[in-house]
Structures are given as C-alpha cells and as structure tokens.
C-alpha cells in the first residue's frame, strides 16, 4: 500500500515496496529534521505526520535514505519533485 499525505505546500509519497519495511521506516524517522515520518507501533510501517508536512526543508535526506523512487517529495506550488 502506498502511503501518501499532502499538506498545503508539500506532499510526500512513500512507495508500497518500502512502506512496510521496518528498517527503512526507522531510518526515515531518524533523518527527517522536522519529524514528518513516524513509525507505526503496530507493524513498524511508515507513517506520515500530516501536520508537519509543510515544515519540510527540502533537505533530501529522506529521499536518500530510501531506495530509488521509494520516497518522493512533491512541491505542490510548482509541480516539481525531489526523487531519485
């Protein structure tokens, strides 16, 4: 299942291939400086904290922490994306 949430300015999409990966979930939660990612206690999958999305500083650390295409950060104001 794809995990995706949108704020006013930023949308984050986590691919279904890695959304359930507990190790990646933990890494994402650690690297994000504005706490966009959380780990679901029940099954260790990735959760996105919607209210923090608009704080995204475009640091790219989440994109780099996941495999290519695993995490995509979308800028809703101009349609561009951060992905690898």
């Amino acid at each position: 299942m794809t995990v995706a949430e949108a704020g006013t300015f930023i949308e984050v999409v986590v691919d279904d291939q890695i959304a359930n990966d507990a190790e990646i979930a933990k890494k994402l939660e650690e690297v994000c400086p504005v706490d966009i990612f959380d780990v679901n206690e029940s099954d260790g999958s990735v959760a996105i904290v919607r209210q923090n999305l608009d704080e995204c500083v475009l640091c790219n650390l989440c994109v780099e922490a996941a495999p290519p295409g695993g995490v995509v950060v979308k800028k809703l104001y101009d349609g561009t994306e951060l992905r690898r």
Binding site: T8, F9, V34, D54, E55, V57, Y77, D78
Partner: protein, 409 residues
C-alpha cells in the same frame, strides 16, 4: 528587572550595608505594629515602581503608631502614575546630619562598572554632576579582579570628604560595587546615604535594577532571599493580548524567534518584518511615507512555518488591519521560502486571499528563488533586493491606501 524600594533595601542589607530598622507592610495594622517596634516618629512610603511619590502624597510622616496606621491606610489605596502600591515601607524618621549619594552604573565606553559618590545627596545626581562637578567622585572597577576598598576610598576622597566620614562611607561604596557585580545589576543607587547625628551611615533609600538576561542565574537572590515569584516580571507596561499570544507562539517552538509589539500602534497595515535593525528601519520607512502600522514585529533566526504563520495570523486578526506587509533586510539564515509558506498559510487559514492580503513581500536572501515560486503560485506581489527597504515600504503603504506609489508624508 526593577525592584521596589523595600526589596532594594534588603539587597543592600544582604551586602553588608547598614540600613534603618524598617518594616514592609501591606495592611494598616502591620504599619501600626512596625511603628510601635520602631518606637518613635516614622515615615510611611508608598512602594510603587514609579517616581513622584512625594508629590502625589505617597510619603507621609507619623508621630504615633495610630497615625502610622492612618497614613498607611490612605497610601495603600493611593494610585500614583497609574501604579497601585504593593505595600508601604515604615521607616524611622532619621536624625540626619548630612546626605550623600553612592551609586554604581555601567560605563559602556570604558566597559566597566563606574562608582559615583557625592557629598550632595538627596538630589538628582545628574544635576549635581552638571552644577557642582567637583562634588562628584568617579572611579571604575575591574570586571575581573576583586574590588579592593581603596578604590572606593579614592572615589570618595575626590569629593573632599575626609575624617571619619571617609572611613565610614568607604565600605558602603565598596560593598555597593561588589553587589553590583555579583548580582548583575545595571543600576545600584543609594540616595540618600545618610550620616546620622550619631555619626553612623545608613542607606535611607535604595534603587536597584537587574539586567534581564541575568535574571535566570540570580535565583538565590530573587527566589530565596527576596521571594519574588517567577512570573512577577515588573514590565514597565502591561502586555496586550496580541503581545502575549505572539510570545506564546514564540515559546512553543525553538526554531527561530518572533516578537510582536503593538502598544502605541493603531493602524491598518500589519507589519510582519525583521530582523532587529530591519524592523526599525522598515517601521520608520512605513511611517515616513504616510503609512499607519498596526504593530511592530521582529522575525529573527530561522523560524518554522508554524511560527511565521502564527505571527502573521495574530497580526491579521488585529482590529483594523486590512493588509500585511512582509519585509526584511537581506537574510543570511532565515529561509525566504519558509517565511513565504508561513504567511500564505496564515491567509488561507483565515480564509483570505494571499494575493489581496499581502500588500508586498520583500525578503531577499537564502532560498529566495524557491520563495518566489511559492509567491507566484498564490499571486502575491513580491520584489527582490533591487527594491530597497524604503521602496518596498512605500509600495505597501500605497497598496493599503489605494493611492499612487511614491506618495511621501
């Protein structure tokens, strides 16, 4: 942070400076008891953080404990310059032979504390310095080394004071200088320092102010000795709801700093501005061009979207605000795109059109290209560093007034 007279007395007493046997009272009955204990004529003094007590009737003499209670009752209800007293100080009416002045202040040019002493006490020291300069002794003390008595002695001797007066006044001034340093004061004054008829020296009145930045490290004096509550900040004026809300938003999140003031501002143009120097410059620029600011503010550091949004919302919600101007001097570490998100979000959450509501956005600097993209998407008029602070302020004023640009006051 300012202190009441009764607190300042306690501070000098703790430093080993002789004071009279006084009583701090909050009821007429306590004043009666204090007068009884003192056993003699007393003076009842209103405890307020403003001057002009004498003129306003806040200082009265009493010959008996009953009279003391009577005066205390009246003074406890007397408002002076908008201040209600915390209580009254009951002091023995002193048999004064001569009044002196002893004080310590910061000399910002020398970057050291400066001791001041005069044998013409009881009056304004600045006036004495002007009219009788040879009656004012000055001496700097080191910031690093312990303060030896002789430095105080030299300062006093420069006024011509000698004999036993010199020897009695010396430890008073030296201890005042030491307490100034140890307690992070910005002002420590004893005026008058009275020589009584029996030759002793006592501090008849004391005035102290502590540096705000140091309050956190003076817990022993403030909380234990003086029992001043943490929320008792003694601001010169009461904060408005706007100011308190902005302070709360600032405290909730450590990313960046915001501040808002609106005391004395009653306009229709909200200012979401920064940083320190930029805010002053922009406020001047808005006013000089006929604009009417609804508030003053300062954005500093690198605030979160939530903080920038919070400030903008508070400003937009003020009575009479029609538009906001978002302007800063060139920023090095404040992210333009983050502030842009914050102010736009504030408009959206209040169901206002960002393009209509934000009169101008002028923040050149870090991540400005990204910021411009966001502003364009929402139709907000923005400008880059080629437009000066003055011009940007002028455009904002013109927009909110609906007049042609460049109309100076």
């Amino acid at each position: 942070m300012r202190f009441f007279e009764y607190e300042a007395r306690k501070i000098v007493e703790l430093a080993g400076i002789p004071v009279t046997k006084y009583g701090f009272c909050t009821t007429p009955e306590q004043a009666r008891q204090a007068a009884e204990e003192i056993g003699g004529p007393v003076v009842i003094k209103s405890q307020v953080l403003t001057g002009g007590r004498m003129k306003a009737g806040g200082v009265k003499f009493a010959d008996t404990p009953d009279e003391a209670a009577e005066h205390a009752e009246a003074i406890l209800k007397l408002e002076i310059n908008g201040h209600m007293p915390r209580g009254v100080l009951v002091d023995p009416k002193a048999e004064v032979k001569q009044e002196y002045y002893a004080g310590v202040v910061w000399d910002g040019t020398a970057k050291r504390p400066l001791m001041l002493f005069s044998d013409m006490g009881g009056i304004d020291i600045e006036e004495v310095a002007r009219t009788h300069p040879d009656h004012v002794g000055r001496g700097h003390v080191s910031n690093l080394f312990p303060i030896p008595d002789f430095e105080a002695k030299q300062t006093i001797a420069a006024t011509g004071v000698t004999g036993s007066q010199l020897n009695r006044a010396t430890p008073v001034l030296a201890r005042l200088a030491r307490l100034f340093r140890e307690n992070d004061m910005t002002l420590a004054e004893i005026n008058p320092l009275a020589e009584l008829t029996d030759g002793s020296f006592v501090a008849l009145d004391a005035h102290m102010e502590m540096e705000e930045e140091a309050v956190g490290r003076q817990k022993k004096l403030l909380r234990t000795e003086l029992q001043i509550a943490e929320d008792d900040t003694r601001e010169p004026y009461e904060h408005s709801a706007f100011e308190e809300h902005v302070a709360a938003i600032d405290a909730a999140d450590h990313r960046g700093v915001i501040q808002g003031k609106d005391h004395g501002f009653t306009g229709n143009l909200g200012l979401v501005i920064g940083a320190g120097g930029g805010s002053l410059t922009l406020t001047d620029a808005v006013r000089s061009q006929g604009g009417k600011p609804a508030n003053y503010s300062e954005i500093g550091g690198n605030p979160s979207v939530a903080k920038a949004c919070g400030l903008a919302k508070e400003v937009l919600e003020k009575d009479g605000v029609e538009k906001i101007a978002v302007m800063m001097s060139i920023v090095s570490n404040t992210r333009v795109d983050i502030v842009a998100r914050g102010v736009i979000k504030a408009c959206l959450e209040l169901e206002k059109d960002p393009g209509e509501t934000i009169a101008i956005f002028r923040i050149p600097g870090a991540w400005e290209d990204e910021g411009f993209r966001i502003l364009e998407r929402y139709g907000v008029e923005y400008c880059d560093r080629s437009v000066s602070l003055w011009e940007a302020a002028g455009r904002a004023v013109a927009k909110v007034q609906g007049t042609p640009e460049g109309a100076a006051a």
